[in-house]
């Protein structure tokens, strides 16, 4: 389930936390980074690895919005629609993205390339409107800039 490098990192992490349960979030991040999402098998694996219950891991995965319990598109586009972004035109960005990708908020394109999500404030209010794709932030957006982001990623 996890690469040698990740397993080694887990050994290191054990020196940083007094319990193995505390490693639930970091280990789930490793699983998601390697597999793109966290399957029921992966949750079982993490539970065994950390000697916690499956129910505990399931509870954590479903509590935090950034963990995907299901497979999602190759590129996950997250658009902030909270107040500061709204005031600077996130509505137009959402419209443009839905139009360009042919999907609505919360959907994944048929070919599995794109997933579009509405998210809460991303800490980019001073450079609004914005969207994130993976760890990358795209800020001060307008429809033209959205197009160039999509073309780059395609």
């Amino acid at each position: 389930m996890l690469s040698e490098a990740s397993l080694q990192k887990i050994e290191e992490l054990k020196t940083k936390y007094p319990t193995t349960q505390a490693m639930t979030l970091p280990v789930l991040w490793m699983v998601q980074e390697e597999h793109g999402f966290i399957s029921p098998e992966a949750m079982k694996y993490v539970a065994d690895l950390l000697k916690v219950s499956y129910g505990h891991v399931f509870g954590v995965v479903t509590f935090y919005t950034m963990y995907n319990a299901r497979k999602i598109g190759k590129h996950h586009i997250e658009v902030c629609t909270n107040v500061s972004c709204m005031l600077r035109g996130s509505g137009k960005i959402v419209e443009h993205l839905e139009h360009r990708l042919g999907i609505k908020m919360g959907e994944t394109s048929r070919d599995g390339t794109w997933t579009l999500s509405e998210v809460e404030c991303m800490g980019s209010c001073g450079t609004a409107p914005m969207c994130a794709v993976g760890e990358e932030y795209y800020e001060n957006l307008n429809p033209e800039k959205v197009d160039s982001v999509l073309n780059k990623l395609q």
């Binding site: 909270n82 800490g123 209010c125």
Partner: protein
Amino acid sequence: MIQSLLPNIADLHKIEVYEANGGYQALRKALGMKPEEVTDEVKKSNLRGRGGACFPTGLKWTFMPKVTPKPKYLCVNGDESEPGTFKDRQIFESNPHVMIEGIVIACYAMGITTAYLYIRGEYGKWVRMVQKAVDDASAKGYIGQNILGTGFSTQLVVHKGAGAYICGEESALMNSLEGERGYPRVKPPFPAQYGLWGCPTTINNVETLSNVPIIINNGWEWYSKIGAPKHPGPILVGVSGHVNKPGVYEMPTGVPLLEIIYKHAGGVPGNKGIKAVIPGGSSTPILRGDQLEGVCMDADSMKAAGSAVGTAGVIVMDEDTDLIQVIARIAKFYHHESCGQCTPCREGTGWLHKILDRFVRGDGRREDIDLLMDVANNIEGNTICALGDAAAWPVQSMIRRFRDEFEKRVHEAVPAEQVPA
């Protein structure tokens, strides 16, 4: 000597540059003092928390037991998820070492040997930057075993969240660090008695701790004279919304809001008037554009104006803004982020969201305005954590200060007898 949070120095995030500008001198100085003297210095400086509640930092540190058989912990709060807030990110990006230096000094003052820096999951890129800075500081002997040969040791662990506003609430943050879902805990017991893994714990915001080296370098007297006397120091103000130059600006506390908006943030596009301002992140009560005169960015002034400093995230709305849409979006946020433990918050935030959506559609009923107030009043003060209050305040203040906006959106159903046959 580092005298501010975001000095205009190129590449300050690099440790050599930070050192060349007097970085880590405060740590040397602090390690030469007694731990109590360090705490005392912070206490006298009147530094107050920058995470939202303005709690006196030095006082908080004194709550930690001096002698205890248990390990003690510091949690550094970098969850930064309050809408309108983007200042801790600036520290991670431009001056991570001032934060790291502050963390190590705080650990020394309280006798802490492990600090956890909790950074929101969305800041993946910044987590990497900060980890690099921590590694560099360790390599130079500023963190880790036997710091600068003094015998004092402390480790700093960077911990990445996974998307949950509530994990910024201090007790939810501790549960999240323990690998749990981010449910806030009932207080008391308070963290200084029973915190992480049941051990004495202090939680401080990223910006708060970044002030500590500045205090140690310059002394409490110097620091306490910056800005508003009862809430002094430099403060990072994030301005967003309808301004020409949105961004994070460092200034002394106590600067008038109008100066922040017009001088720092370049005024309102198209020279439009200001309809409303949220002064400190989405949970702080909204102010009317015509009541901004004389309102300043410090705890007392904001309180007198009927709002709060919060996270100093100033959201400016011009005269054409649809405030109903704004408050509905805020309500949606708190509904989404409620952890669901307390009925008033779980149900109440849902109600607020649903009723406000009716107003957005122009379908509000006249009695809904009082209903909204009633729901908000029933949440406030009746919950485990302050998210409930944070959801109630914006609604209450919006109705108090902009009732006319709601009235305009009331759907006046035509009485049956007037409907033409």
